[in-house]
């Protein structure tokens, strides 16, 4: 079972590597941000599986913090690209 869990982590790491390609290629900033966002979710998934493999409940807290904060960069990004840099894309449209 443990070996399977680490193999699953390697599979998830593969998706992280693929998303890095999207971060590199762009072409839009939104694309780069989405790549980073997917890697954030992948990181949460890997942290959960690692916690499962170690049967360590405190490792779930790392997934918890990642899940809580993973979206903040994307929020900062959409604010930065709004009209005055302090707004909301829903106001501009």
């Amino acid at each position: 079972m443990d070996e399977f869990l680490y193999l699953a982590c390697i599979g998830l790491l593969g998706t992280v590597a693929a998303s890095l390609v999207r971060v590199h290629l762009g072409p839009n900033r939104a694309d780069r941000m989405m790549g980073a966002q997917l890697i954030g979710t992948g990181g949460v998934a890997i942290a959960l599986v690692l916690a499962g493999a170690a049967r360590d409940a405190s490792m779930i807290d790392v997934a918890l913090v990642l899940a809580l904060l993973a979206s903040f960069a994307a929020v900062a990004f959409v604010k930065a690209t709004s009209a005055d840099g302090a707004g909301d894309p829903e106001e501009d449209g």
Binding site: D2, Y6, C9, G40, M59, V62, L66, F72, D88
Partner: protein
Amino acid sequence: MNPALLFDVALAALAVVAALSAVAGRDLFASVAFYIVYGILIALAWMRLGAVDVALAEAAIGAGLTGVLLIGAWSQLHRKGATETPPGPSSAARLLAAGASASVAVLVAVIFVGLPADGAGLAPAVRENVAESGVSNPVTAVLLNFRAYDTLMETIVLAVALAAVWSLTRDELWGGIPGLRQHARDGGVLATFGRLLPPLGLLVGVYLVWAGSSMPGGAFQAATVLAAVWLLLVMSGAMDEPAIGSTAIRLTIVAGPALFLAYGTGGAFLGTFLGFPADVAGMLIVAIEYVLTVSIAATLALLVAGVPRRQE
């Protein structure tokens, strides 16, 4: 090769790729995105090394707070039209920097290889004495008891860093409010997110500082989460940054280091600076940890907010 080792090798390789892409990339925004990814990968690496406390700190700071800070910095540069890559340093300077970095890397490698083979370091000494620290998480015991002076100085460094940032304020804006006034469409997605997430974030922050005395967690990790929640409240327009002239905010920032210093001085009267007997140390450490959390959270959030840019 067993799967766990294969995972470790792949993770280390990806972290290096992300780091190189962040440093060597030509597009500033892509570098910021790679740096956020790098923080996530390093948090996972700390988990694999069994350092969950450090993984928590890296997840909160590297993957969370730093991303917001760097994107804010990119945004300001972008608006000033300053995102073009400036002419690089001369090749002599590059060579010097590369040489210095390589020497540091070699030095670290030499020290690492030279470590005693059993790799125990100070861990047995900490384990033997953790009962006398008043808390059961060995990392918290080291940070707030055995090596408390390090932590004390770190909290003071943070407060000094904030004073340094504030000292860059233009005279007519002194005492004003950092950053632009943030706004979001009423009832829109961003405004709703800014109301749904903070209660959960507050819960996670309080949980982390509470967990810190017996499990991985603690003041710095919790404070970073709380600072991020503060920033989200500001970004979603639910709350404005406080004026830096506010007495309440200044007291909040110095409360943690001041209490810590008072505790250390109290210890000095009983014999040793920062030294307390186990029966009172536990309770005092927990009290200091909570006050520090609030102070560090306010300091980190205001460090990200930057210099005052308006009076009202």
